[in-house]
């Protein structure tokens, strides 16, 4: 018995420590006993240290990174202190992505599917040559069938000019975004109402009262920024004295940063916004000057809801002459409120219409809908009015500007059935207070740049069928956010949706996106996308989407590539950055740009691609790309940098990582500081064109479910989910965890460990009533109030006092069945329980992430 001997050996060793070495050398590989230099013999003796600047690849705000490289090996990713967005810091995902660089589970060669789609894939490895030739031939076949038969979908927006614009245009592909998933209803509402592309956020430098409305403060970021920048600005603002009112069914995202928590009932945000509008008007705390001069509030509305137009011009009631006059007539003194009789017509100002519209939306009315005491609503309205300091001004950059330090931060909240109108109502609330474009007031984008949709949506033009695959400008969804769920529905039943059959997709390119995990209803997306004959997925891992749907997987690299240009602004400083490779790509993986250049070459569209790149990157002679030759990515960005006026070219970025151009001028930051203010547009308090769209939809015989929310002023109705039978007594909401945000972060073990598995967030009271204890496994069963369909998923419960008792929550981005040891056993994705289709797809074709469920023990 060898080991008996070994024990005796120990005893002898105890008696004679000198004998230990010999015994242990025999027993142990590593002595690890007495002190002795170990040293890193494994790497070079005097390792050379380099710091390689690049840009984060996981999140959406593209933080600046300095990669520490020792002897060619990347050992750490740290924030780039020069980068305005992250100032030398990184979020958990940013730091953790170092594991992706060396992840043995990454896709390293092109893969070609050998089994049918819809089930876990079997793949064979292929050469790039073979895979690209196959893709090219499929694209050519598809294009022979019809012009719009190739569709292209991207995940988190990166390098838009090159991919979204230059490549898809050269390919003639129909472009889908990752969009309509996180906040597109909010984007559309802002574009429609204020003319800006984005969702509501504050001017953190000056805002004094912030309504954090469904904003996932500690985990969600906000529009256009991923995470670090806004939280940092929030913390600084709070130390300056800003107060935060957190309006959310869940407290967790705000944590200690909420000065006041209003746990609102899910899906009732519109009602609260309307009650606040009512109350603000009732208090008389409105910014008349702004409303009269920069919104359509004084426009005269006729009995039929349309504006009074004379000679094509909207009219206001001139208090001087006591008659309608064009709103922009010199010397006109428009009345803000009032009902007027003119030529036998009853005319009301838009503001008057609003005032009457919200008459019934009292705090007491909203109290029962939102489950927020009326007193609290009144108190909030009062706080808004007090903090808005209507009439106050501040001198900035030599300009005297209005100071209205109240603002709303909302973002994912838009993803509900009434999200478009709820966001609009919030914008209108801020308009009443004169906050948009004022210092400390409501912001939407980083600069005051009027988006093309402002005009487009105003024209209220509906297209005639047949429609394209995402029902653009259709009679169903005149304002459309290009939602994958809609695409899936249209694929399943093209006739019902009047889709052009000649344009049904034959080939789909999925670019670093995981629609089966991220979008509303995994089952519908799978069923729909399965009908696309050929799908190519560019990804670094075999994602759920790739696993179930890809015919070909092309291995894309992570941080080991050139990509850009990437905005680096923090909303106050203008800066631009590039993603630069920190090491050679793992395996045969390649940057997407390289893949597209090769594909373009095979498809014979290289020159067109190059031409588009020249245009989209604004390359100026002599720094344009020559046609007829495939450029390297580095060359493209070198020419871009030179065109931007950096004589060094890309070397500037290779040295500094980011090009900080300086403060964004006051004139671009604040709508008021512009000349003319707000770019000369009138903000849409009253949405006349929505009414026009509604009438056209009615005229075409479209079901009410599509047109009912096309109202000129936000109008409350109960969300469809409320029609579910009473046993579905809980609301299911979805949200994000900072350590688990973004589908491409689910494969990072360092963060998967922080939030190891899906949990159903539930209030202990609700759990107790159902006999459920913390950690119990339960079924969550969701119900579709329109179709009666139910879905269920099994998940463990996490009890928290920080959620409403009538609400349960599932964080997003779980449920990838990717072939990765760390995504195994993570539990179901939230998307498995939501529904697509009318009632759950809002009036702007956006996915609702709210549904009624019941929860019972498994």
């Amino acid at each position: 018995m060898a080991l008996k001997v070994s024990r005796r050996t120990f005893l002898k060793g105890a008696a004679a420590a000198g004998g230990v070495a010999a015994a242990s050398a025999f027993l142990y590989r590593n002595l690890e006993t007495l002190a002795g230099p170990e040293g890193e013999a494994r790497s070079s003796a005097a390792p050379s240290e380099e710091w390689v600047p690049t840009t984060c690849w996981i999140g959406k705000q593209d933080c600046g990174i300095l990669a520490r490289r020792i002897g060619g090996r990347v050992v750490k990713l740290e924030g780039n202190a020069a980068h305005p967005r992250n100032l030398g810091t990184l979020c958990p995902k940013g730091v953790a992505q170092i594991s992706a660089l060396y992840d043995p589970n990454r896709v390293r060669t092109p893969l070609i599917r050998t089994n049918e789609k819809g089930i876990p894939g079997q793949f064979r490895t292929a050469s790039w040559e073979e895979a690209l030739n196959l893709v090219a031939s499929k694209i050519r076949e598809a294009q022979a069938k019809g012009a719009k038969t190739v569709i292209w979908q991207k995940g988190r927006s990166k390098s838009g000019p090159l991919y979204d614009n230059a490549f898809t245009a050269a390919l003639g592909a129909v472009k889908l975004h990752h969009g309509a998933f996180c906040s597109d209803a909010g984007y559309r509402a802002s574009e429609y109402t204020l003319g800006l592309n984005g969702v509501l956020h504050p001017d953190f430098k000056y805002t004094n009262l912030l309504l954090s409305w469904g904003w996932n403060i500690t985990a969600g970021g906000g529009n256009k920024l991923c995470w670090i920048t806004f939280p940092r600005q929030l913390v600084e603002a709070r130390e300056r004295g800003m107060k935060v009112v957190h309006i959310d069914p869940r407290l967790h995202s705000a944590g200690p940063h909420a000065d006041w928590w209003i746990p609102i009932r899910p899906g009732s945000d519109l009602a609260l916004a309307l009650a606040l509008i009512h109350q603000v008007i009732a208090q008389g705390s409105i910014d008349r000057a702004y409303l009269v001069n920069y919104t359509n509030a004084p426009f005269l509305v006729q009995e039929d809801g349309t504006f009074l137009r004379l000679e094509g011009k909207e009219q206001v009631w001139d208090e001087g002459s006591g008659a309608p006059r064009p709103y922009d007539a010199p010397g006109v003194r428009p009345a803000l409120e009032g009902t007027f009789q003119w030529q036998g017509r009853r005319l009301r100002t838009a503001f008057q219409v609003l005032k009457e519209h919200v008459q019934g939306y009292t705090p007491d009315w909203a109290a029962s809908i939102c489950d927020v005491p009326a007193e609290e609503i009144r108190r909030l309205a009062k706080a808004l009015a007090e903090n808005a300091q209507i009439g106050a001004t501040i001198s900035l950059g030599g300009k005297v500007l209005p100071l209205r330090p109240v603002a709303i931060h909302t973002y994912h909240l838009a993803q509900q059935e009434l999200g478009f109108q709820a966001t609009r109502a919030m914008a209108i609330l801020m308009m009443l207070l004169g906050s948009p474009g004022a210092v400390g007031g409501q912001r939407v984008d980083f600069t005051w740049k009027i988006h093309a949709n402002f005009q487009k949506f105003g024209e209220a033009k509906l297209a005639n069928p047949p429609y394209n695959i995402w029902l653009e400008n259709s009679e169903f969804f005149p304002i459309n956010s290009n939602n994958s769920a809609i695409v899936a529905l249209a694929l399943k039943d093209p006739e019902a949706w009047k889709v052009d059959k000649a344009q049904l997709p034959q080939v789909m390119i999925i670019h670093m996106s995981n629609p089966l995990l991220a979008f509303g209803s995994s089952q519908d997306i799978l069923e729909g996308f399965k009908r696309i004959p050929f799908i190519v997925v560019l990804d670094a891992w075999i994602s759920k989407t790739a696993d179930l749907l890809a015919d070909v997987i092309l291995p894309a690299s992570t941080l080991e590539k050139y990509e850009g240009p990437l905005s680096a602004t923090d909303q106050y400083v203008d800066a631009v950055a590039l993603r630069l490779p920190v090491m050679d790509p793992l395996g045969e993986s390649r940057g997407e740009l390289e893949i597209y250049l090769d594909l373009a070459e095979r498809l014979g569209i290289l020159d067109k691609f190059i031409e588009n790149i020249n245009k989209e990157l604004n390359l100026k002679a002599p720094n344009t790309l020559p046609k007829g030759r495939k450029p390297t990515p580095r060359e493209i960005f070198d020419l871009w940098a030179k065109s931007q006026g950096l004589s060094e070219g890309i070397a500037y970025f290779e040295r500094n990582g980011v090009w900080v151009k300086g403060e964004i001028p006051i004139a671009q930051q604040y709508g008021y500081a512009q000349d003319p203010p707000f770019g000369g547009i009138r903000h849409r308090l009253y949405g006349e064109s929505l009414l026009l769209m509604q009438r056209q939809m009615q005229a075409r015989g479209v079901s009410e479910i599509f047109w009912r929310d096309y109202t000129p002023l936000p109008t409350w109705r109960k969300p469809t989910m409320e029609q579910s039978p009473p046993q579905y007594d809980l609301y299911l909401i979805s949200f994000k965890l900072i350590e688990f945000k973004q589908a491409r972060g689910t494969n990072l073990p360092l963060v998967a460990e922080l939030a190891p598995a899906q949990r159903l967030w539930m209030n202990p009271k609700a759990a107790k009533a159902r006999g459920i204890k913390d950690g119990d496994e339960v079924w969550v069963e969701s119900h579709n109030a329109v179709t009666g369909q139910t879905k269920r998923a099994k998940v463990k419960v996490f009890l928290t006092e920080a959620i409403r008792p009538d609400t349960v929550g599932l964080p997003h981005h779980y449920g990838d069945i990717a072939r990765h040891p760390w995504s195994e056993g993570q539990g179901p994705g939230a998307a498995e329980l939501f529904f697509t289709g009318p009632g759950y797809i809002a009036n702007t074709a956006d996915q609702s992430f709210l549904v009624k469920v019941r929860v019972y023990k498994a």
Binding site: L3, K4, F10, G13, V20, E32, L34
Partner: protein
């Protein structure tokens, strides 16, 4: 020297089937333990059910540490009995003094081996403790007082006390004669030598008794000094360890003595008086221990800080209540059995053995209750609660150690009289 077949006392040199069977069982246990230890060495301590307390939600110390304490506790009895014989002149205990001393030595070695089983770096443990051990650490006392002092003193005592029997044994022809001669080291059992031995034994015993208290207290202080550990931090910890050591040790001796009396077929040895004394001692110590436990629980439950109270509740009525009440119930039952015998004045060996076994159930349960709950549930910071379920590896190693102890005693009793040879050799001769 060919032989007249001489029956050596107490079955020395006689191999019986029963003995062989016991040796086989013990050896098998040792084999399983060795195998488990090999696995632990290959895989690392991950093979145990132990994990870090705090975020990892485990218990840092578990079965091994409980049994370090248990084994060292068992060692209490042997040397105490031996010392009391000398100091108080309890001559009727003399027959069991050798088995008691042997038990001390064996259990101390098992305790030391349990330490090695627990250490992440056992070889470093051996080397670095000798090289760097710091008096500031409560472990220093454990290491020096218990392992070195206590064990060495016991060996010295054992050696000196055995010289007389070795001399007597050396009178017989046997293959181990060389051993007996060496052990006797010139001892002739002359009156001077006897007197000298009595004298030195007395002084040794006097030296050992404080050492005994220090050693067990030191072990108690390993836990009792930890201010940040609810359930541990207590001035009663050290005396509690001393008393519980007595409980388990005396319980063990009762069982061993009864086993000897039975297996060697002795009618009157050890005599009933010895059993009575042991029973009385166990009764007194058991009552004291119950008293200590009540005082401890009242203190923690009544005036203790929030965490102490929670832990006390957990032990009394919560997750660990089954262990606690098993332990206390066993002790209560043992005390009941002993008290009824004491009151009636009729002592029964089977009942005494039952009490001894019950006392050891208490000792094991109580050691686990001391070590584990504070680690899984006793955090002063709001970490989640932990969990500790020993793996088979831990169980097998502990079983292996027990097997090793049994094996040692079994082998010893075939090589040397397990009880003091009562009379001059001549009288034993047929």
């Amino acid at each position: 020297m060919s032989g007249r077949a001489v029956a050596l006392p107490y079955g020395v040199g006689r191999i019986s089937l029963g003995w062989l069977a016991l040796v086989a069982i013990a050896a098998a246990l040792v084999g399983v333990g060795a195998f488990a230890y090999a696995i632990q060495e290959l895989e690392g301590p991950i093979a145990t059910g132990l994990r870090d307390w705090g975020t990892m939600g485990g218990a840092t110390w578990g079965l091994y540490v409980s049994f370090i304490v248990y084994f060292v506790g068992v060692s209490f009895a042997g040397i105490t009995v031996a010392a009391l014989i000398r100091i108080l002149g309890l001559t009727y205990l003399r027959p069991i003094s050798r088995v008691a001393e042997l038990l001390t030595i064996v259990s101390l070695i098992l305790g030391a081996l349990s330490v090695l089983a627990d250490l992440g770096q056992p070889l470093r443990g051996i080397a670095n403790l000798f090289r760097y051990a710091r008096p500031q650490s409560p472990f220093f006392g454990t290491f020096t007082m218990v392992i070195a002092g206590y064990l060495f003193a016991s060996l010295v005592y054992f050696y000196l006390a055995g010289r007389r029997d070795a001399y007597l044994m050396a009178q017989y022809p046997s293959p181990l004669r060389w051993l007996y001669r060496a052990w006797a080291a010139g001892y002739q059992d002359t009156p001077e030598e006897k007197a000298r031995h009595e004298r030195i034994s007395f002084w040794l015993a006097l030296g050992i008794l404080p050492l005994l208290v220090i050693a067990h207290s030191t072990l108690g202080l390993v836990f009792g000094l930890m201010g940040g550990r609810p359930g541990w931090f207590s001035a009663l910890q050290a005396p509690g360890f001393v008393v519980l050591a007595g409980v388990s040790g005396i319980g063990h001796i009762i069982v061993l003595a009864a086993l000897l009396r039975w297996s060697l077929g002795l009618r009157d040895q050890p005599e009933m008086a010895a059993f009575r004394w042991l029973g009385q001692a166990l009764l007194v110590l058991g009552i004291i221990y119950i008293y200590f436990t009540i005082v401890e629980m009242v203190t923690a439950g009544y005036a203790g800080r929030e965490h102490e109270q929670r832990l006390a509740k957990l032990v009394l009525v919560g997750y660990y209540a089954p262990f606690f009440w098993t332990g206390m119930g066993a002790l209560g039952l043992a005390i009941g059995l002993l008290a009824s015998q004491a009151l009636s004045g009729r002592w029964s060996i089977p009942l005494l053995v039952a009490s001894g076994i019950l006392a050891n159930v208490t000792a094991v349960a109580k050691r686990l209750i001391i070590v584990v709950p504070s680690l899984t549930h006793g955090s002063l910071l709001p970490y989640g609660i932990g969990m500790y379920i020993p793996t088979w590896v831990e169980g097998a190693i502990i079983a292996g150690l027990m097997g090793l102890g049994a094996l040692t005693i079994l082998l010893f009793m075939k090589a040397f009289p397990i009880m003091e040879v009562p009379a001059p050799v001549e009288e034993v001769r047929p």
